[in-house]
């Protein structure tokens, strides 16, 4: 059954979209990530124009982070002041990101920029996660090993504008969280992702936040930033396809539940290795596309409105 998407101006199989949403939901339930980093390249692949894929991806992240953040609030695992500081940076970053995105679209380099960003970030984070989880598996067999301390935590304590974050039990400068929030905001706008896969490690390793509040706070900040990004894309590019977003969300909701059940049956280290391999595979595929000679050197971009 085909469905015509009003903004993307393409007709796509309804079940394909539900399936894609379901797949992403499955991953997000399984690994606790938003899934934006998978959905955007997949949407490119089925022929959705890049501008629409990125903007609609941001809209889909809103839905998945709402259901996540509600559960975290109930567990009191959201550091609201920290979230606000990240937010302030995030909104600035997301505005900057939209400017960058529109500038790249005019230059015709948006596909390249998005792909490069994916290759660099996914490759880097995938490699780090893989290394970390293999080490964690080894450590489980060899007790008593010490976890290396990060140097940057000292810097966090030396900067001005210190603030107390009760839920996280931290007394640190607001500059690092502001900068991290901003970086994630830029990524959210350019890549159509929530940025959880960057935010979570940054909060743990750079800010030294306790792991139990990291997920909730990250989801909280991602929710607001991706909502803001969606709105900016809708206003400046008119590229949010509400029909596409709804189908992905419906599929995603069901997939997330299956993923959560499945995840309960696997060990945390195994899950992390699987996620790392998945992230690396996506990065490798996109990287190869950039390096290998393409089958068609020419591409068309239509429409005078953009």
């Amino acid at each position: 059954m085909q469905i015509y998407l009003p903004i993307a101006e393409v007709s796509v199989n309804l079940f394909l979209l539900l399936g894609l949403g379901g797949l992403v939901g499955l991953l997000s339930g399984l690994f606790g990530v938003g899934g934006g980093f998978i959905i955007t390249p997949l949407l490119f692949f089925i022929g959705i124009p890049p501008t629409v894929a990125v903007a609609t991806g941001a809209n889909q992240v809103v839905a998945s982070s709402v259901s996540g953040v509600l559960a975290q609030f109930r567990r009191k695992a959201v550091d609201v002041p920290m979230g606000m500081v990240l937010q302030a940076g995030g909104i600035l970053g997301s505005g900057l990101g939209i400017l960058v995105f529109n500038w790249l679209t005019r230059l015709g380099q948006v596909d390249l920029a998005v792909q490069l960003a994916y290759v660099v970030f996914l490759g880097g984070i995938g490699a780090m996660m893989l290394q970390e989880s293999i080490r964690a598996l080894r450590r489980a067999n060899r007790p008593g090993a010490v976890r290396p301390r990060d140097q940057s935590r000292k810097l966090v304590h030396r900067l001005p504008f210190k603030m107390r974050f009760r839920t996280s039990g931290l007394y640190i400068s607001v500059i690092p969280p502001f900068v991290i929030g901003m970086a994630v905001g830029v990524l959210a706008a350019v890549m159509g992702v929530g940025g959880g896969f960057i935010m979570v490690p940054a909060m743990i390793y750079l800010l030294g936040m306790p792991t139990k509040v990291v997920i909730g706070t990250s989801l909280f900040q991602i929710l607001i930033v991706s909502a803001f990004t969606t709105l900016l894309h809708a206003i400046t590019n008119q590229s949010v396809d509400v029909m596409l977003a709804l189908l992905l969300i419906v599929g995603g909701v069901v997939g997330a539940q299956i993923g959560t059940r499945l995840g309960a049956k696997l060990k945390a280290e195994q899950l992390r290795i699987l996620l790392a391999l998945l992230v690396l595979a996506v990065a490798l595929k996109l990287g190869l596309d950039l390096v290998l000679p393409p089958s068609e050197l020419y591409s068309l971009q239509t429409g005078a409105s953009r």
Binding site: L70, I249, Y298, S299
Partner: protein, 252 residues
């Protein structure tokens, strides 16, 4: 003098008037709904004769042209090991869709000079539309445009797709793709003998989004803030509803 010129003109046009084309279209309005997955359109017609049929084969060509678009053609080259878009050519106006159907292979019924004048075949029609390329090395870009559009089914040629009965009645079926864009389409019908056009006619076809499609599209263009808020509201509601629904399932 003027009278003689007029008389001469009349004499010249008289043989062409001996056969005329009368045409109809199965639908002059196509609505794109949410369930739209392509459409087919039937263009039919008859040849009206004032005199006995002349010798030689009769050719019929039917074309369907979509609304013009601005297109940017980009070319990738390898820079520092990766493939990037490094060069582009902007063509201000080319048809978004162009389909040609004919009763026989085009080279048999359409003379090149007629094609150049009437702009019937795909490359001629598209390039006539685009105008001069504006750069001397634009040829590969124009060829790429034709190749990519032919590959995606936007520019098609179906020789022998026009069926001609008793040299009088003809019909052509066009399949319109699922990714049809809205706008004013034009169907043109040409009657040919010995490679020359002896009569032609045209008819407009309107393609419009209707219903929910129209509402969504118009809202996104005219009230982008409201549209953005609506998208957000739906996403937030869906997220909340999902969390609530699954909590209910888990508790029961």
């Amino acid at each position: 003098m003027i009278l003689r010129a007029l008389l001469l003109l009349l004499l010249l046009t008289l043989p062409a008037r001996a056969e005329r084309v009368v045409a109809g279209i199965s639908a002059d309005n196509i609505g794109i709904t949410t369930a739209f997955d392509g459409s087919s359109i039937l263009i039919f017609g008859a040849v009206k004769r004032a005199a006995p049929e002349p010798d030689g084969p009769l050719g019929v060509i039917v074309t369907l042209e979509g609304p013009p678009q601005k297109v940017t053609v980009r070319r990738k080259t390898r820079e520092m090991g990766i493939w990037v878009n490094s060069d582009k050519m902007v063509i201000d106006s080319v048809p978004s869709f162009y389909a040609v159907a004919s009763s026989a292979p085009l080279d048999r019924i359409l003379a090149p000079e007629t094609d150049a004048k009437e702009r019937i075949s795909v490359p001629v029609a598209v390039e006539a539309y685009a105008g001069p390329l504006g750069r001397s090395d634009g040829r590969p870009f124009a060829e790429a445009l034709l190749r990519l559009r032919a590959g995606s089914g936007a520019y098609t040629v179906s020789e022998r797709a026009v069926t001609l009965a008793a040299d009088t009645l003809f019909r052509a079926d066009f399949d319109l793709p699922a990714n049809l864009i809205e706008g004013d389409y034009t169907a043109r019908m040409y009657l040919l003998r010995e490679g020359r056009v002896i009569d032609q006619t045209w008819a407009p076809i309107k393609v419009r989004r209707i219903g929910l499609e129209r509402f969504t599209y118009v809202l996104s263009r005219e009230q982008p803030l409201a549209y953005g808020l609506l998208s957000l509201g739906l996403a937030i509601f869906a997220g909340w509803a999902a969390a609530a629904a699954f909590r209910l399932i888990r508790n029961s």
